[in-house]
Symmetry: C2
């Protein structure tokens, strides 16, 4: 039986999602907790997620799936979220865990991933209670200028200028949304949504727009960077801790299998980050 | 010259506001930073706040004042907030620092203090990113029942049932607001406003209402507790980390001196917690 797991984590003390030997990762902690609670031998289970977040990146709306072996009784699933939360550390919480719809795949069925990037660019907006996930920036940022530049980046493009290159992997993506709003607290929130992202893409896009927001660069420069398809030293990859995976979008149940078919073969071949 | 200091802190690693020997407190850190930045000898300055928060309690809208000696040049004040933030730790931030209006006193001029108490009573509402200031509660709470009981407690009463008794101190307060809302995140937020609070009063009020929210008690019981004017073992003082001082209200400048006159003599005599 496949289960869908909706989860959230404070990425501060995790070396990202993906299991790595000797390092504390979200996948590692979650997989270990599942083995413990279900009393299964090590390496029985594999957990797959929608967005493989980097070291220090947070998630409020991460989605994963896991195939449970037939010896796990169905009635255990209803209590699994609570039991996992009982053994997991406070920086990793299960929001929901339930049998997945037919054809569901956390990674390949996803239509889009939505991230938020948070910046406090004035002393008054810096809230020490939220400092784990809001970057304090020492200079004020012009949100209108950032939005003007962001508009030039939205759409289907080759985002090579904002991606860490990988052998044989495409950097063509559909950037569905890239915009900034100022919350009532004064915090600037960048809303970033795409079918998928390549490595460090959101943080490089934000770095580009922060240069515009400071008035050092303009929208034309941002458009030129995109068109150049090469990393530019003027684009800084922003701190990981400002970035949070907020939500993953899936089609309705009837379209899940079709979506998985569309994306899985292509994306597996390309080794795209989710 | 008197300056008004608006500040915020994550109370997790502070033993409350008030300076205590050998312990890390907000007043202690802030006073030390002022001495450092202004290069003044130890014990030159004294910082007074509006709400002397307990150990582990947070503040987003704390207000303090400090009288600077005449040798501090006036032009230093404009840069003081930035310089303090440069030496203060990340869990204590200055939002604003400016010359205070004539007659201002952070403690005695305050008209009211507003606190929030935050509880996540479902697995889905528990956000690991906000776990420092939201209490995770294992049972669902009935917000309507809590509001019905809260309405019985609002007004001018003797809150002895919810206060740690102190010799010679009154426990009569005007509770201006006590109500609960559920945020879009699912988190329950208690809004508590009064002219002043006695020690542990907010957390005892919340403990009383949580008993009602769980269905263990009803609004009548809460009203009886208040009328009994004695601490009741059924009322638990809730965890400090769910409590945040959100805002302090002051009269307009023309009324500051009158307000200070009204409150200072009475409150100094009574040793009331701010």
């Amino acid at each position: 039986m496949r289960v869908r797991i909706d989860l959230a984590y404070d990425g501060t003390d995790f070396k990202g999602w993906a299991t790595q030997p000797l390092l504390r990762t979200v996948q590692g902690e979650l997989t270990a907790a599942l083995h413990t609670v279900l009393r299964l031998p090590d390496d029985t289970l594999r957990v797959t997620c929608a967005g493989r977040t980097d070291s220090g990146v947070h998630a409020r709306g991460q989605v994963a799936h896991c195939d449970l072996p037939p010896e796990v009784p169905a009635e255990v699933v209803g209590r699994l979220a609570r039991r996992l939360n009982g053994v997991l550390p406070g920086d990793l919480r299960i929001h929901r865990l339930a049998p997945a719809s037919e054809g569901f795949d956390a990674r390949f069925a996803a239509l889009w991933r939505r991230y938020a990037y948070r910046i406090a660019d004035t002393a008054e907006a810096v809230d020490p209670l939220d400092r784990a996930y809001v970057v304090a920036w020492p200079r004020p940022l012009d949100v209108d200028a950032m939005n003007a530049a962001a508009a030039r980046l939205v759409g289907l493009h080759d985002f090579a200028a904002f991606c860490k290159q990988r052998e044989g992997a495409t950097t063509i993506r559909t950037l569905q949304e890239l915009s900034w709003t100022r919350a009532t607290s004064g915090v600037l929130v960048g809303h970033v949504r795409a079918d998928a992202f390549c490595h460090s893409m959101v943080r490089a896009l934000v770095g580009c727009l922060v240069a515009v927001g400071e008035g050092r660069k303009d929208a034309e420069w941002a458009a030129d960077i995109l068109a150049g398809r090469r990393r530019d030293p003027g684009v800084v990859v922003m701190h990981a801790h400002g970035l949070t995976l907020e939500e993953v979008g899936y089609p309705d149940d009837a379209s899940l299998a079709e979506r998985v078919e569309q994306t899985s073969a292509r994306r597996r071949a390309e080794e795209v980050d989710g």
